[in-house]
């Protein structure tokens, strides 16, 4: 482990990982809310360093995938694996049993999430928002955490806002702080849940540029739910099209966006393009 705020390495390569190693693996994952089936025996994998965009109509289960990974929801059945370890379950006497709170606490540190509504802590200044978890969870000293936070705030272009309260920032600025806050925990996987949906249009670009930079300069694994198709095309290696809790089509972005195969994908993309 380095103390640099970002994992080293750049570009597409995930650096010598065996091909069989997945950063994320969904194995027949079912998620129901009451009678409603949100994810229907979903299988998919993400390799280390891969950036995957999830698209699809609302209610198709994309956000639920991120929330399951962040352990904000529990699977109804099936298994989720993260970086070789079970996430939804844990080993007990040679078999997998549903994870307890302790196991979830230990495994979720590999994952960071940025939310649609930012969810910064309004009672803390920007700097403390970014230093709180590294100090409290990773045990960094105040100086180390502050140094890391300042580097990250620099990266998102908000070095001068360290002393501000979230309510004094624009939505776009708050979201960039939220990105810095998530990265301060040095997660292996970053989940982006419609991170620009709550923003005024003129603030979207700043946030997306930060994420583009991040994609270019690090090999952090990203799962991204977005309606920004150009952004998805720019950063992702692969796009998954969801409908009714299943993947209906997956392909590299240039292929999926220019030559979608499935009718559901075609109509969805048409609808999104018209809306913009």
């Amino acid at each position: 482990m380095t103390t640099a705020p970002l994992a080293e390495g750049s570009g597409e390569s995930s650096g010598g990982e065996p091909a069989t190693h997945f950063m994320v693996q969904f194995d027949k994952v079912v998620k129901k809310f009451g009678e409603q089936v949100v994810l229907d025996e979903l299988d998919f994998t993400v390799t280390p360093g891969e950036r995957v965009t999830l698209i699809g109509p609302s209610g198709s289960g994309k956000t639920t995938i991120l929330r399951l990974l962040m352990t904000l929801e529990r699977v109804t059945s099936g298994h989720i694996w993260v970086d070789g370890d079970p996430l939804s379950h844990m080993w007990q006497g040679g078999s997998l049993v549903p994870a307890n709170e302790k196991h979830l606490r230990a495994t979720r540190t590999k994952i960071g999430m940025v939310f649609q509504q930012f969810n910064l802590f309004p009672n803390m200044r920007v700097l403390r928002n970014v230093t709180e978890a590294p100090m409290c969870v990773l045990g960094l000293s105040k100086d180390e955490a502050t140094e890391r936070a300042r580097e990250l705030l620099e990266m998102v272009g908000l070095a001068d806002k360290a002393g501000a309260y979230p309510s004094q920032l624009s939505g776009g600025q708050q979201q960039r702080v939220a990105i810095a806050r998530a990265l301060a925990m040095q997660p292996k996987i970053l989940l982006l849940d419609e991170v620009t949906s709550a923003l005024d249009p003129e603030l979207v670009a700043d946030v997306l540029n930060v994420l583009r930079d991040l994609a270019q300069t690090t090999d952090i694994t990203m799962l991204c739910v977005t309606h920004e198709m150009q952004f998805a095309r720019d950063i992702s290696h692969r796009v998954l099209m969801f409908d009714k809790g299943r993947i209906v089509e997956e392909a590299p972005p240039e292929q999926l966006f220019s030559a979608p195969q499935h009718d559901r994908t075609k109509s969805f993309l048409r609808a999104v393009l018209e809306a913009h």
């Binding site: 962040m70 352990t71 904000l72 606490r105 979720r108 540190t109 994952i111 960071g112 999430m113 939310f115 509504q117 969810n119 910064l120 802590f121 309004p122 009672n123 803390m124 709180e132 978890a133 409290c136 969870v137 309260y165 309510s167 939220a178 806050r181 998530a182 925990m185």
Partner: protein, 222 residues
């Protein structure tokens, strides 16, 4: 009829009584803030049986009269459970007021805690913050400022209920002092009028303070 000599003579006694009234209010309020928060947190415990027990304790406190609780504390709880014999009436009064009002403040805290957006919990989870830290650093600092006016209102209500401690005997708060003086002079009107005036002035001042607090909180964008 109104006698100015009586009115002037009793006033220092009333002020002396006011000290006891304020002691009962301040310590009773402090106890109700602390106990109420503890009740509120226990009501949200992950363990079902703790939630159930706390629910019934709070319900019991809120649905039985304060005066009955005071007698229970005075004759049973403080001498036999806390082992303070004979039970000091003022101490019993403070515990009684604090416990009784904790039943109400716990609901106030609960509303405040439930008012913190779910996204705050989720962000804290996403950062792997331990539960205790989430409460202390994220949830309570957002919940408590919002409920300060409501806590203030209950404190004013408690202040006005301090004369009830008269039933314990030997708590020389304002009303008891007025009663004693009236009995000696065969004239109650001056003493009770002054007591009422003191309550009026202090309650209104406190209410204005609470209003000011509400307005300041309303302006915060948190």
């Amino acid at each position: 009829m109104w006698d100015w000599d009586n009115a002037i003579e009793v006033f220092p006694l009333i002020l002396k009584g006011l000290q006891v009234t304020l002691i009962a209010t301040v310590f009773g309020a402090a106890l109700s803030y602390v106990l109420g928060l503890i009740f509120a947190l226990l009501r949200m415990s992950r363990l079902g049986w703790i939630r159930t027990i706390t629910y019934w304790v709070v319900e019991f406190i809120r649905t039985t009269p304060l005066v009955v609780q005071l007698f229970f504390l005075f004759y049973f709880f403080v001498p036999n459970v806390l082992g303070i014999r004979p039970a000091d009436p003022l101490l019993v009064g403070i515990i009684g007021l604090g416990l009784h009002y904790a039943g109400y403040t716990s609901e106030v805290y609960r509303a405040g805690i439930e008012g913190v957006p779910r996204g705050q919990w989720e962000a804290a989870t996403a950062l792997s913050l331990p539960q205790a830290r989430v409460w202390r650093a994220v949830i309570l600092p957002q919940a408590i400022p919002k409920v300060l006016p409501a806590l203030g209102n209950y404190t004013i209500a408690m202040f006005k209920e301090t004369p009830l401690l008269i039933v314990l005997g030997g708590v020389n708060e304002m009303v008891n002092m007025a009663k004693g003086f009236g009995g000696r002079q065969f004239s109650y009107v001056e003493a009770y009028t002054e007591v009422a005036a003191v309550f009026l002035v202090l309650s209104i001042s406190a209410a204005l303070l609470v209003q000011l607090m509400e307005r300041r909180l309303g302006r915060q964008r948190v």
